[in-house]
Amino acid sequence: MSEAVAPALLAAPRAPGLNWRRAVPLLLVAPLLAFMLALYAAPVLAMLSRSLLEPAPTLAHYIELAGDEVFLKVFTNTLSTTVTVTLGTLLLGYPIALGMARARRLLPLILVIVLLPFWTSVLVRSYAWMVLLGRHGLVNEVLLALGLLDRPMRLLNTPLATQIAMVHILLPYMILPIANALRQIDPSLARAAAGLGAGPFGVFRQVTLPLSMPGVMAGVLLVFVLSLGFYITPALVGGPRDMTLSMLIAQRVEQLDWAYAATLSAVLLATALAIIALFQRVFGVGTAFRMSAR
């Protein structure tokens, strides 16, 4: 495919009406574009088309889905998990990001603590949570030893376990963009605000927080979209009854129900795209970025 694209672009300067300079960026992205089209877009489209073309061109799978109680339950569960995880990472991540932005000597240490899990495989981290939350795991043992419990509490394979593990795994995606946005805020702005009569909380609410919003938006968007399609963690530490969309897709693929799995995938993709579009519209990501670029 790249062979077909590149010569056409190289010929561009001689073609009337086509500006050579405008063709350069296109030429630079051409290899990646070709790679993505051939190895990503094409198979995804082929797979998604199964939801519309099997066994014959039809919308039956989507109509069926709208009335399917299992799907509706799973879909709601996925959305509520996603919202909880996003809020959880935001509430835990913002203070850490604030600390990172203010820290001088401790910054490398905080950075390593934040990034270490980030560099570890999701699978390993999910297993680690299984060890921690299990019936004889660290959490239960400590609570028993302290006399706070008489017998082990059921933690593993509950929605709470999924949420805790996902918050932990996705935290860096929230912290890093927020910390980055906070670091870009001119420190003299906080001083100016204090000098003009704003107390520490007033400075935060009226200056720091609004100026960090581009980072918050980026973090929320990242975590939201990522947790929407999370599979390994909910599958390992979540309960069998608290199925998420990705688990349902995997189950149907195992049952070789390709059309149903493809339909679910289409819904998942559409939801993610809808969320991104909503963010663009409501918060105007573009203007937010211009604001921070001062």
Partner: protein, 359 residues
Amino acid sequence: MEGASVTLSGLEKRYENFGAVRGVSIDIRSGEFLTLLGPSGSGKTTTLMMIAGFETPSAGDIAIDGRSVVALPPHRRNIGMVFQNYALFPHLTVAENIGFPLKQRGVPKPERARLVEEALELVRLPGYGARQPRQLSGGQQQRVALARAIVFKPRLLLMDEPLGALDKQLRESLQLEMRRLHADLGITFIYVTHDQEEALTMSDRIAVMNEGRVAQIGAPEELYDRPENRFVASFIGESNFLPATVRGREDGVLVAECAGTLVRATCAGTPATGEAVTLATRPERLRFVDGAWPAPPPANRMPVTVTEAVFVGERCRYLLRAEDGTALVLKEPSSAATRRREAGERAEVAWSVADTILV
């Protein structure tokens, strides 16, 4: 409105291994325009930051109107402040920026809008309220920052090199505007700069700072005409330094021998006869004896050799050498009627006793 009086007493700021401010005591009078002038690292900005409350003194006290403010956080000090980089809030409009201090003080909205428009008129930007700070030029942004710093009618305004980022012409017009504002408002201004010309143009008094201490404090003319030490003599304007030996006193005037000739100087102290001293005199106050000089020619004279002549437009600048090798600079207003001297020419220069200072 009455300006605040500020008393700095024995103010110090030590960081781990160096003292940024090492014992600064200044009495700033109500309504005064005081400038802290010094090279970078002289402690002038640190001193200002301690007055504003952004730095905590290691020792000493800051009193505003006789009350110590060291324990007060910045937002309780009620001081206006203008930063070098303007520090306008980029997410707020010009009007919201100026209204910020009023909002913190619970001023109701309609009143706020009126005061903001008044402040905009004061800095000659009427009708700019709805703009975003980034839509304004540097000079306009600094005017907005100024409006924001005075809109809540503080009795003390601090400015940290507010014109440093602007070009020369804009700086000069804003200097005059600051003077006008100072006269209109009647409040106390404390201004930090490293630009001596700016300090001389605007201030009632200047505190020249060096290595964390005040080298001299006084009115601009006083600092220029009677510098008390070598640092002030060389930092404010240009000076010729003449090594000399004290020979005695005569009618309250110091007589010293310098490059083989006797030179007279005004001097407050009483250095002993035979002591080695340094005399200072300004280049523009030296004249060639045979040049256009109002009679009678001044008392101090010295034979010199011209080593270099530079024409700078409004004046000629001559580098001279005295007989003992001491280098001197002489600035002469240029005129088509004056003969230009050549390098290698011998001449005699003269200057008055009042313009000769012991440093």
